[in-house]
């Protein structure tokens, strides 16, 4: 059934349709309307979940981990500082191999205080073993909630997963969303049946001490799960398309990249703007494309290399500053491309921090700059875009 709803309501619908057993959340802008919507349904008796409002995001995830270890399907949602506070427990969930699913509404971290879109909160958690999936639309937010449980609970994976949406641009903006029927969702997403669960009938310890002669095997097994995750994701996306009739491409969604000379890699809602600009430039005869980075963990090495084999110049538009030589997406993309005999040139654009608009004319300028790089070579590896008084992509009219 089609309804008009915000990204946060779409996330809540995903949780409800996934028949989550335990919800534990703590308020933070711009996530809060997700937990409010869930509380409303629980109160009305429309959604029979155990609902805990905790006293911190740390406790939200700790409660989900405990509930998951007795076999419950669990959910939490957060943003920004809340995700940073969960850091310890993201590692705990992946270490204990518990498939907790969460929504993160991307938001900047203070100081200065800022409640708007910025990808640094999730980018900073890239090493925690939590799978990361960035959404472009409210429909994708709902769909990927269902998808996330399917992937995280797969016994080939068993890792926590976060579904990510941009603050306000998606979280508080209404779009038409097709809410699937419970029957179809139930067919796609069966009940969570873990192989092990804590129960007095068969006592064991979950998370006990492992000595140096044991510890590496735990992490190695988790790394195998991470390595298997791309294939599980590809397969689950195919099944999603068959069940719901909607396709999301893959770990990376390529848009007009087939014969492109240059392409811009971008995650989140800015991809929509980039696609519109690519259409415009195509009409003018430019061979440009967009590669939307949907899944950052597991990192789509294969997809990035396939792109790098065909396209000589890649731009990476990042909505986060990672305090490194370039953005974190760029570091990993460059790392994957080093496996090629002739890797493409890679230029990093940092834009849209703290909710600043990424305007079509700026993206147009990025594409033209990339064409120049394609001809003349790379002069600057990183450009900050849209900073007041700062010139960038010099030489482009």
């Amino acid at each position: 059934m089609k309804q008009v709803m915000t990204g946060n309501t779409a996330a809540a619908w995903g949780v409800r349709l996934a028949r989550v057993d335990v919800i534990a959340t703590y308020p933070i802008t711009p996530q809060t309307t997700i937990m409010e919507k869930l509380a409303e349904w629980v109160e009305k008796g429309e959604f029979p979940a155990q609902y805990i409002q905790t006293e911190s995001e740390h406790s939200s995830l700790a409660a989900c981990i405990a509930a998951a270890s007795v076999g419950a399907r669990t959910y939490t949602a957060t943003s920004s500082h809340g995700l940073a506070l969960m850091h310890e427990l993201l590692l705990w969930a992946s270490g204990a191999r518990l498939p907790v699913v969460l929504t993160d509404v991307n938001r900047a971290l203070a100081p200065p205080w800022n409640i708007w879109t910025d990808h640094i909160d999730t980018v900073a958690e890239r090493d925690t073993g939590c799978l990361q999936l960035y959404c472009e639309s409210n429909q994708e937010v709902l769909d990927m909630m269902l998808f996330a449980y399917r992937v995280a609970e797969d016994r080939q994976v068993l890792l926590p997963m976060m579904v990510i949406e941009d603050a306000f641009v998606l979280s508080h903006t209404s779009e038409i969303v097709d809410v699937p029927s419970q029957e179809i969702v139930d067919q796609y997403l069966p009940k969570f049946e873990p192989e092990f669960r804590l129960d007095p009938s068969e006592p064991f310890g979950l998370g006990s001490v492992a000595m140096p002669d044991q510890f590496m095997e735990f992490r190695y097994r988790a790394s195998l799960a991470m390595d298997r995750a791309p294939e599980v994701i590809r397969k689950a996306l195919g099944e999603f398309e068959r069940a719901f009739g909607r396709s999301y491409g893959g770990l990376i969604e390529e848009y007009r990249c087939e014969d492109a000379e240059v392409a811009l890699v971008v995650a989140g809602s800015a991809a929509s703007t980039a696609k519109a600009v690519a259409d415009e430039l195509r009409r003018e005869g430019h061979r440009v494309g967009v590669a939307r980075l949907r899944v950052f963990r597991p990192f789509p090495v294969e997809e990035i290399r396939a792109l790098g084999k065909r396209i000589s110049t890649l731009g990476v538009l990042e909505r986060a500053y990672a305090f490194g030589p370039n953005g974190a997406f760029t570091t990993e993309i460059k790392g994957a491309l080093l496996g090629l005999l002739a890797p493409p040139r890679v230029k990093n654009y940092i834009a849209g921090l703290g909710g600043r608009d990424i305007r079509p004319e700026e993206i147009r300028r990025m594409f033209l700059d990339l064409e120049r790089v394609s001809q003349a070579g790379l002069d600057r590896e990183v450009e900050w875009v849209g900073v007041q008084g700062l010139r960038w992509a010099e030489g482009i009219p």
């Binding site: 057993d21 076999g71 419950a72 669990t74 979950l206």
Partner: protein
Amino acid sequence: MTRKTIPEPEYVLPGHSACPGCGGTLAIRYMLKALGPEVIIAVPACCWAIVPGYWPQCALRVPVHYNAFEATGAAIAGLRAGLDALGRKGVTVVGFAGDGGTVDIGLQALSHSAVRNVDAIYVMYDNEAYMNTGVQHSGETPIGAWTTTTPVPGATLRAREPKKDIIAILAAHQIPYAATVSVGFPEDFVKKVQKAQRVKGLKFIHALTPCPAGWRFDSSKTIQVAKLAVDCGLFPLYEVENGRWIISRKTIHHTLDAYLKVQGRYGRTPPEIVQLIQQQIDAHWQRLLALEAFTAAGAPGSAPAPTPPPSGAAVDSRLAQDAAP
């Protein structure tokens, strides 16, 4: 013939790695004997995160959910919610945490589960310092005790702060049941844990568990030390049941010197510190007596024995009370 009041089944198996004379080990042993096998325990970073043994061994015959240091209060809430959601009935959820993991880093999560009146038992085994990391000061380290991190310029290392009164803190949360126990009095220990198991809501047990390694006494003297602490009034045994304060052992003896002398951590305690400790004991005892009288049935401070609200509904019912004229 004496009547057996302590159940025989053992849930702590041989082969654990506790130090000889460990009070914490006696605490978990008595606790599990009292509760029986239908239990899941949540254990944060503390001695008992290590003592059950290295993976895959576990010296406990009940399932253990190991959790992050500050997360025991949240873990018991999650375990209860998960069991409820799946319709798994009859399981007692227990948090078993040290003093630092409870009154310092774990206080926030515990406070919230107390306010929500989560149906679980939280047992704090109190060895009065961070013992697993080697005797650092905690919120439960008493005045005058030596630790490795209580520097007093020009003197030996001694704590200057009083023990955090965790029972008063929990009583202020209006939980249905809180009690102190000592491993020196196992019958009292078991009786109170069994009582806690019969009550719905959040129950808190403060267990004094002497630590030979950290308190610097011979490992054969754990029970003696645990008894002396109670007898001298430094660790009185009492309950707070639905707001009613009840002292379990009415008499205190003036045995503070004997208690201090047997432990190396109080070595060469200056007389003025001993005097300060005694004053503190007397004041605390007087306060307990007054609270007991004030909250006794029919006394001005007595509350009508409330029905403990179900998990999650605690805040609502209290708001309703506040709103009443």
